[in-house]
């Protein structure tokens, strides 16, 4: 029956092993997380924010969890080449849920900047870890906190600007190279903590790849503290495969006059659920949250956002676009909450969707909840098909129906890609999106692990 039972038992049996292979700061909140998880269980579809994705079912299968932290021998720098042209990034790897430390890019980071493992810097981490991601409010966050044993720390000190983008490749790999025996499907629990002090700036790109064809279940919790005047670009690109389940919870806390650009791009996946909780806790802050989804076959993508305007004079912008083909399912539920006294709030939420077949399904639910009386908020949503008049116009000029569709779908998605701040990445994504629509993109482009 209830799928949470196996995780409860796992924790009870393996508690000591989990503790012994994890840093103290992460252990400090673990038992509480377990209690919170046990009390909540996985949410049913009757829980408002989980209406469109059946979590109980996703967590039901029996996955292996690497609690004793066995290293899966792989040198990602050797086997992985990400070919985002002209984008020289500082490249880091997280193999399953372990921060890869064996070799790292040579010092491009400015003084004081940390890109490291959650196993180090306990004092710093202790101040921030698991504060935004409250285990009492979300079962997946609780589960992640209870099982995560490692993760990524990004710290940028006051007024330091990191010019070079930080690229983190999340590689999912269950089978060691030259494996002799069958390995189980794998569950991983990724954890990321981003701390930007006042005036700090950083651009981060997370790419999710699956490196073998096992079934994967990845939970992820990202917590980001964005200090006064700080600026964070957080791009998440998923290119996994149809056997992959991703449940991601992102928490962002924005202080006064800070800026956040958050893009979530789903090009290939199995079942994906992305939750974003963004809070404005200082005046004058701005965020732009964009997402695009290209899904076909029986893929499922659910983006769920909550933007809370706690204080006045903040601006939030959301644009999510989906192209759904075959029997794929998309869901977008966005809520903007303007609290009492958060005057002069500006907020725009848009969700636009194309369904290419009769079987594709889109659920869209834009919501505004406003307790202030001097705000400018708008929300809108559309679900439709490609414009027949435009298709015919193109065919009359000799463009085949298939090519015409590709051009129009591309144009539709490009509105989101064009909002990207990182120009080389933008070009690269235009290229990837086009290939995706042409069916030429097989899992992860440029990732030799998959081939």
């Amino acid at each position: 029956m209830a799928s949470e039972q196996q995780y409860i038992e796992l924790y009870q049996q393996a508690r000591e092993m989990i503790f012994s292979h994890a840093p103290e700061v992460m252990n400090a909140v673990r038992d509480q997380a377990f209690e919170d998880f046990r009390q909540q269980g996985f949410p049913s579809k009757k829980v408002e924010r989980y209406k469109y994705t059946d979590l109980q079912k996703l967590f039901e299968p029996d996955y292996g969890v690497n609690l004793s932290r066995l290293q899966i021998p792989v040198d990602p720098y050797e086997t992985f080449r990400c070919d985002v042209p002209n984008l020289s990034t500082s490249l880091y790897f997280v193999v399953n849920d372990m921060f890869y430390t064996q070799s790292q890019p040579k010092g491009h980071l400015p003084e004081g900047v940390i890109v490291g493992s959650l196993r180090d810097y306990p004092e710093l981490i202790g101040k921030y870890y698991a504060k935004l991601a409250k285990t009492s409010e979300d079962a997946v966050t609780a589960l992640n906190t209870m099982l995560a044993q490692d993760g990524l720390l990004v710290y940028v000190p006051k007024n330091v600007k990191v010019d070079r983008a930080i690229q983190v490749i999340n590689i999912l790999k269950a089978t060691p190279q030259n494996a002799q025996r069958q390995v189980p499907d794998l569950m991983v629990n990724r954890r990321v903590l981003i701390i930007l002090e006042a005036g700090a700036e950083i651009k981060m790109l997370f790419c999710d790849h699956a490196a073998d064809d096992k079934n994967f279940l990845a939970t992820q919790v990202i917590e980001a503290y964005v200090g006064d005047n700080a600026s964070l670009d957080l791009y998440c690109l998923e290119e996994t495969h149809y056997k992959n389940v991703r449940v991601s919870n992102v928490y962002i806390d924005q202080h006064a006059n800070s800026r956040v650009n958050h893009n979530v791009i789903t090009l290939h996946n199995g079942v994906t659920r992305n939750k974003l909780d963004l809070t404005f806790s200082g005046e004058g802050a701005e965020c732009a949250c964009y997402g695009c989804v290209i899904a076909d076959k029986e893929q499922h993508v659910d983006n769920n956002t909550l933007i809370t305007h706690k204080v006045s004079h903040c601006t939030s912008n959301e644009l999510y676009k989906y192209v759904l083909d075959d029997k794929s399912t998309g869901a977008f539920a966005g809520r903007v909450l303007v609290e009492h006294g958060a005057q002069k709030t500006t907020s725009q939420m848009t969700n636009q969707n194309l369904t290419a077949t009769k079987e594709a399904r889109m659920y869209t639910q834009p919501m505004l909840e406003i307790y202030a009386d001097d705000v400018k908020c708008a929300h809108g949503s559309t679900v439709g098909q490609l414009n027949d008049a435009a298709l015919f116009y193109m065919r009359q000029r000799g463009i085949s129906l298939k090519e015409a569709k590709t051009l129009l779908q591309n144009a539709f998605i490009n509105e989101v890609i064009d909002k990207m701040q990182l120009e080389p990445l933008r070009d690269r994504l235009h290229h990837l999106v086009e290939k995706r629509f042409r069916g030429e993109l097989n899992k992860c482009e440029g990732c030799r692990l998959c081939k």
Binding site: D388, Y393, M394, Q396, R397, G398, L407, L408, A411
Partner: protein, 251 residues
């Protein structure tokens, strides 16, 4: 070039074309006039294969090939071009990408390699001059934010790029000021060769004074009821259509 026999077509349950016969030879220009709702635009739409219309009877041959069996894109590849009465805006698709796709698909159909970028840009530059189209429009989305005149000139620009054998101009003069009309007409004339033909659908003889057709047809209630020389257009301009309706036995 084009041979249409007893063509009938309907949209939904409404029959609009009720037996069109039309023969167009190489190098000829034909004008089609007629009161509103007589089926002029339907005729052009059916010829280029708009899926909204259904052909119920009749035949149409284009240089010996059965037009009605061809997909719209193949009709275009064979050399059929329609200048739309209402050009469609396509947000997000740039003019350049649009034209490049069109040219290269045609070349693929003809068994040619895609045109390289430098050649393409040169061609685009040359053809743009024919209709005095601003080069800035090349980077804009197809027809998006174009003025009425720009849209029509853009149609003729595309015609110049694709070098069709038979062009159908569906009310290309509507909504144009005198100067724009002159530019469009001159553009069309420059593209005329002894091997190409043209069908001009219009309400006014002003355009016909500039694009001199050899034949003028009057389409009424889904049939061609009268055919004459250029003088017919003048008569219609002066006297309207009532006298033609009387001739065929209607008041």
């Amino acid at each position: 070039m084009l041979e249409v026999k007893n063509l009938h077509a309907k949209i939904g349950d409404k029959e609009i074309l009720k037996g069109i016969d039309l023969v167009i030879n190489d190098g000829e220009t034909h004008a089609i006039m007629g009161p509103n709702g007589s089926g002029k635009s339907t005729l052009s739409a059916v010829l280029v294969g708009n899926p909204l219309y259904e052909v119920t009877e009749g035949e149409a041959y284009f240089n010996g090939k059965n037009l009605l069996e061809m997909k719209p894109e193949d009709r275009a590849h064979e050399g059929l071009f329609l200048s739309f009465q209402y050009p469609v805006e396509i947000p997000g698709v740039s003019m350049t990408n649009f034209m490049k796709a069109a040219i290269n698909e045609k070349r693929k159909y003809q068994g040619l390699e895609p045109m390289n970028a430098a050649e393409f840009l040169k061609l685009q530059r040359e053809k743009r001059k024919i209709v005095e189209l601003d080069s800035k429009l090349a980077n804009r989305s197809v027809n998006e934010g174009f003025s009425g005149g720009e849209k029509k000139r853009n149609e003729i620009f595309q015609m110049a790029m694709l070098e069709p054998k038979l062009s159908i101009l569906d009310e290309t003069d509507s909504g144009l000021d005198v100067d724009a009309m002159r530019i469009v007409a001159e553009g069309v004339n420059k593209l005329q060769t002894p091997e190409t033909s043209c069908i001009v659908i219009t309400h006014y003889d002003r355009l016909l004074e500039m694009i001199r057709p050899q034949f003028v047809h009057v389409l009424y209630k889904g049939k061609i009821v009268k055919t004459g020389g250029p003088e017919l257009a003048k008569e219609i301009q002066e006297h309207g259509y009532d006298w033609i309706k009387e001739e065929i036995g209607e008041e």
